[in-house]
């Protein structure tokens, strides 16, 4: 029997990160996929990042993951979203050459020592006394494994819908994995069903660009990885193109509603509200006929273009009619049709905050199997699950990253505590401490937990010293009103100075920048880009950051109050039945998490706390 330390099932964005980090840490790792020629495939948007997702990608990088480096190497357009808003919500996004991205990831996986690849379908788990010991393949092969990380995406009982016809499949071009769903059922897991979809890909040679609005990349593109130098980074090679739907598009969709699997009741899985199909948008917002359509090239050497905004499961001929009704797409030719996919997921309240199943030790889940959506969400979970699989094998306490530390922490806590009712996507509005969870400080927040491949803790500490010294200087140096200062203030759109003020205070004026301030009061030694960025953000946001820091301080305390895994909720007198039920289901790791379970009241948690203290004291008395 073949034996490995960590077995990763699925070579999508979650699987890649899980496998790479395991192998890099010296664990014998096997990456099993049904389609080894599609490692790191982007079956939906050819893009990485976006609001909250961009921050998450930077976090993956800070922890030593690969996604950021891969997009820096294969991206073809880079933009910073939310530029007009505060630095806390700046969000990097990039268009990928999806074929180059797959090549990059495939080559890297094949070249990583300790990582072996196998094309196979895993159909069953081998479990002994509630502990995972191996897996079984469709061919009957058994592989012993210390831990398994399941990253099967949309493949579990995947069902593709093209109009009213449907066929099994995990992706447009790939077979589904039905046996593993059955294995989960045999093991007593609860399964759920979700739906997602994608748009048609059209031939770029059949688009009339004259009639479209061009959307170029940023003039000063910023890479994702902390390891990619900012200076000289320029991978802006293509533009995206904007058009809109119109009244005619709407009429076509409405006339053909009887052919929609979504509205005829054929699709049972629950779809996402933030990623609706065009038929969904028309039905829910009938007055809104003008929807943005972005044409995104899928790569440099391909004719395929992604039609962002036109996700649909209507039949091919309706997709043609819809496209042709839009300005600039009158002659568009479809290369691949859009479709919807339904798939099984394992509701993530069955997981611990380490993403390990509560039922079977050594079995971890990451990505769409947990009901999330998005490449970035998947990759982050893959990395996190692998960290915890390794700790499990090393018999160490799990790595828990909490809500105040990272979007990754928000994501994991949300799904394991609150559960998932529709495919889960990150938004910055889900984070309580948004001003702290910025893309620019992901290294500072997380490097110590990770591999330190892309950024290193000693370097960050050095930088922090420089930053502290410079902020001190800005606080202690006074700027007296002068011709030069008032000239500078005028340039920045600010009122002239009436009296002397610390430089810090001058910098806090909305229009003022550190760069401008340095023209009059240059730093003693020239500072690097990241230091300057940190100084400016920390000075400008200082009051708000301090306010959030106080909240985090309180939050962290309840997170540290652990509830033992063996805690007997039935023994607590006076808990309402529904609360008891929910607590037993989620089995929160600490009092903070207990508090966030939907339906649990503060008084329930208070009673729990007292009961637990009482127990501990009784035990101490015995000893």
């Amino acid at each position: 029997m073949n034996a490995v330390d960590i077995l990763v099932i699925g070579a999508g964005h979650a699987g890649i990160e899980a496998a790479l980090v395991s192998a890099r840490c010296g664990y014998r790792t096997l990456l099993a996929s049904m389609h080894l020629d599609a490692i790191g495939c982007m079956p939906c948007n050819p893009s990485i990042g976006g609001v909250a997702k961009g921050q998450l990608t930077r976090e993956i990088d800070a922890l030593g993951g690969e996604m950021a480096r891969a997009i820096d190497a294969t991206g073809i357009q880079f933009r910073m979203l939310n530029r007009s808003k505060g630095a806390a919500v700046h969000s990097p996004r990039a268009q990928a050459d999806r074929f180059l991205y797959e090549d990059y990831m495939g080559e890297l996986c094949r070249a990583t020592p300790g990582l072996s690849l196998r094309e196979m379908e895993i159909t069953d788990f081998i479990v002994e006394d509630g502990v995972l010991v191996g897996v079984r393949s469709a061919e009957g092969e058994e592989i012993a494994a210390g831990a398994a990380i399941v990253c099967t995406g949309t493949f579990l009982r995947g069902l593709l819908h093209y109009g009213m016809t449907s066929r099994p499949g995990g992706r447009g071009d790939a077979n589904a994995a039905d046996s593993l769903s059955a294995a989960y059922e045999r093991l007593g897991f609860t399964l759920g069903r979700l739906k997602t979809g994608t748009c048609a890909r059209i031939d770029r040679n059949t688009v009339d660009y004259e009639r479209l609005v061009e959307q170029p990349g940023d003039e000063d593109p910023r890479p994702f990885s902390f390891s990619t130098p900012i200076e000289g980074f320029d991978r802006n090679m293509i533009s995206c193109w904007l058009t809109r739907t119109n009244e005619q598009t709407r009429d076509i969709i409405l006339e053909n509603m009887d052919q929609s699997p979504l509205y005829s009741g054929k699709i049972e899985g629950i779809g996402t509200r933030y990623c609706p199909s065009i038929e969904d948008k028309i039905v829910k917002f009938p007055d809104n006929i003008c929807h943005h359509i972005f044409l995104e090239p899928e790569g440099l050497n391909t004719d395929e273009m992604y039609v962002n905004g036109l996700s649909t499961s209507l039949p091919l001929e309706v997709q043609y009619a819809m496209l042709h009704s839009c300005k600039g797409l009158e002659e568009a030719r479809i290369i691949r049709p859009g479709y919807a996919v339904e798939y099984d997921f394992i509701p993530p309240t069955q997981l611990t905050p380490a993403l390990e199943t509560k039922k079977i030790r050594g079995l971890f889940h990451a990505g769409q199997i947990n009901g999330t959506s998005g490449y970035e969400e998947a990759a982050a979970q893959g990395l996190y699950a692998a960290f915890n699989a390794m700790r499990y094998l090393a018999k160490e306490a799990p790595l828990i990253i909490n809500r105040s530390e990272a979007y990754l922490g928000v994501l994991v806590d949300d799904i394991v505590t609150r559960g998932v009712l529709e495919p889960y996507r990150l938004f910055t509005s889900r984070a309580e401490y948004r001003l702290h969870l910025r893309h620019d400080n992901a290294d500072l927040r997380l490097a110590a937990y990770g591999l330190q491949r892309n950024c290193s803790v000693p370097q960050i500490e050095e930088r922090e010293k420089r930053i502290a010294a410079e902020i001190k200087r800005l606080r202690q140096t006074t700027g007296a009103p002068s011709e030069a200062l008032n000239e500078l203030l005028r340039e920045c759109g600010e009122a002239p100075a009436m009296q002397a003020a610390p430089l810090e205070q001058i910098l806090r004026r909305p229009g003022m920048t550190l760069e401008a301030l340095y023209r009059l009061w240059p730093p003693e030694e020239s500072l690097d880009f990241q230091s300057k960025e940190q100084i400016e953000i920390r000075v400008k946001y200082s009051g708000y950051l301090e306010r959030e820091a106080r909240m985090i301080h309180q939050f962290a305390k309840t997170e540290k109050l652990a509830i033992p895994d063996s805690f007997d909720y039935d023994a607590v007198p006076g808990l309402p039945r529904e609360s008891r039920q929910r607590l037993k289901e989620v089995r929160p790791a600490n009092f903070g998490q207990a508090n966030r379970i939907p339906g649990i009241r503060a008084s329930d948690v208070a009673v729990l706390h007292i009961y637990l203290v009482k127990q501990q004291r009784a035990r101490q008395a015995e000893e």
Binding site: G50, A52, K85, Y544, T558, P573, V605, H609, Y611
Partner: protein, 460 residues
């Protein structure tokens, strides 16, 4: 939000409501002494912030520095206190309303209003209560929560609940706009942070400020409308107080100035809860203790919903009486003029102070004549008051006021900083909603997303 493991400082009134006389405002936590030091002036000018285990005499001052109440302040240093934390107990004499005012003073200085059972919980967690009492603590939390739930349920059918919910919804909708501006920059959304956005919050701010003001009415309804009996010494105030109470609690003697302190009792008049307050006679005096009593009488009169102005029908109106009348007119509290001692020979054409009275009654506290008429008058006046108060929703609990005040602060901060980026506007709105959470329920990010997806066509 849970306060399981808080190291902040909490405060609450720790005497049950409805009991007259002395009451305690208790503080517990590391900042107890420093907060108490900000509101308390010791009679011997001692700085108490470094004080040790002892009792101080002095006054609690309001924000403008006016004395609120004469108090005894008891300091218990950690771990030698009920909660094993630094504890300060402020013993006041001024009755419920004045305790409430003291509590608000310490909250304004940074204490947080304690959750139900929180002192006991801290005492237990810090090892001050033995195991056998742990169950009792849990019961207490349950009981208080049930009581609060009943309260919430009974209020939920009311107008107040409706208004609070509407307010929370408005804040949520504004938050949804700010969040959408951050989370969906690439969507084809209309302008989100518009003058209309601020106009709605401006309206919310006014409503919130009105609700904070209304708390006094709310507490009044819950804990009884207060009626103060005022008048010159020896006109029979205590006799009337006793008749209304039908017991002999107050000392009645013909010696002027017997009631040097105010005496407060709770009773019901025609089904309306009333706190009746017998005040010391209002007159000029050189006697130190009595002059303090007189000052408290004035304060009681200021807080009352209704004043009984008692005068002696058998003696001529003195100048002091018209001065008193003028003072009461300025309080803008309805005044019932009661001419007592009608059993004695009346003074012909007795002058009556020239201020607008809500009613005029003739009684004899000695024979009881006219008392029934007086009670009827009071009931009809109070009922009218109640109706008026019930017409506009009021906050009923100091918890509610505390929450509303904190929420109001955030909305004010937002409106003063309109050019801020949407994530900053959202921060204020999130904090406002979190402060309101204890009265209207927590706002989850899921709810906000629901509003966004319900209002805008978002997603690709």
């Amino acid at each position: 939000m849970s306060y399981l493991y808080s190291d902040d400082t909490i405060a609450a009134i720790s005497t049950p409501p409805g009991e007259g006389g002395v009451g305690i405002v208790r503080l517990s936590g590391p900042a107890s002494l420093s907060i108490a030091a900000k509101v308390f002036v010791s009679s011997r000018a001692k700085n108490i912030s470094k004080g040790s285990q002892r009792v101080y005499h002095g006054h609690v001052l309001d924000e403008e520095g006016n004395p609120l109440d004469e108090v005894l302040l008891h300091i218990m240093r950690a771990p030698h206190s009920y909660t094993a934390e630094d504890v300060v107990e402020i013993n006041g004499h001024g009755g419920r309303a004045s305790l409430q005012a003291i509590l608000e003073c310490v909250l304004a200085q940074g204490a947080r209003l304690a959750q139900p059972g929180e002192f006991t919980r801290r005492a237990f967690v810090n090892g001050r209560i033995d195991l056998t009492r742990a169950e009792a603590v849990m019961d207490l939390i349950h009981a208080k929560t049930r009581a609060a739930l009943r309260m919430a349920e009974s209020a939920s059918s009311g107008r107040l609940a409706g208004q609070l919910q509407a307010l929370a919804n408005l804040l949520k909708e504004c938050l949804a706009l700010a969040e959408a501006a951050v989370d969906f920059p690439e969507e084809d959304l209309p302008e989100l942070i518009t003058p209309a956005f601020f106009a709605r919050l401006e309206k919310a701010k006014e409503e919130m400020a009105a609700l904070v003001k209304s708390t006094d009415t709310g507490l009044l309804l819950q804990e009884g409308a207060s009626i103060a009996i005022v008048g010159r010494p020896n006109v029979g105030k205590s006799s009337i107080f006793n008749l209304l109470l039908r017991d002999a609690r107050a000392i009645v003697s013909p010696e002027p100035g017997t009631t040097r302190d105010q005496i407060e009792e709770t009773l019901t008049l025609g089904g309306i809860p009333v706190r009746l307050c017998d005040t010391a006679g209002l007159r000029k005096t050189e006697h130190a203790v009595e002059s303090q009593g007189i000052e408290r009488s004035r304060q009681a009169a200021r807080r009352a919903a209704l004043l009984l102005f008692v005068a002696d029908a058998s003696s001529e109106a003195e100048e002091e009486e018209s001065l008193l009348a003028e003072e009461m007119r300025q309080l803008e509290v309805p005044v019932v003029f009661v001419l007592n001692k009608i059993d004695l020979p009346a003074v012909a054409e007795r002058k009556i102070p020239d201020i607008p009275f809500a009613a005029l009654c003739h009684v004899s506290a000695m024979t009881g004549e006219g008392m029934e008429e007086l009670e009827k008058t009071l009931v009809s006046l109070l009922a009218g008051d109640l109706e008026g108060a019930l017409d506009s929703p009021a906050l009923f609990r100091s918890h509610q006021k505390d929450s509303m005040q904190r929420a109001l602060k955030c909305v004010q901060a937002l409106l003063e900083n309109r050019d801020a980026s949407p994530e900053i506007l959202a921060l204020e709105l999130r904090d406002a909603l979190s402060a309101l959470g204890s009265i209207t329920g927590e706002t989850t990010s899921e709810e906000v997303l629901d509003i966004i997806f319900g209002s805008f066509c978002i997603g690709k």
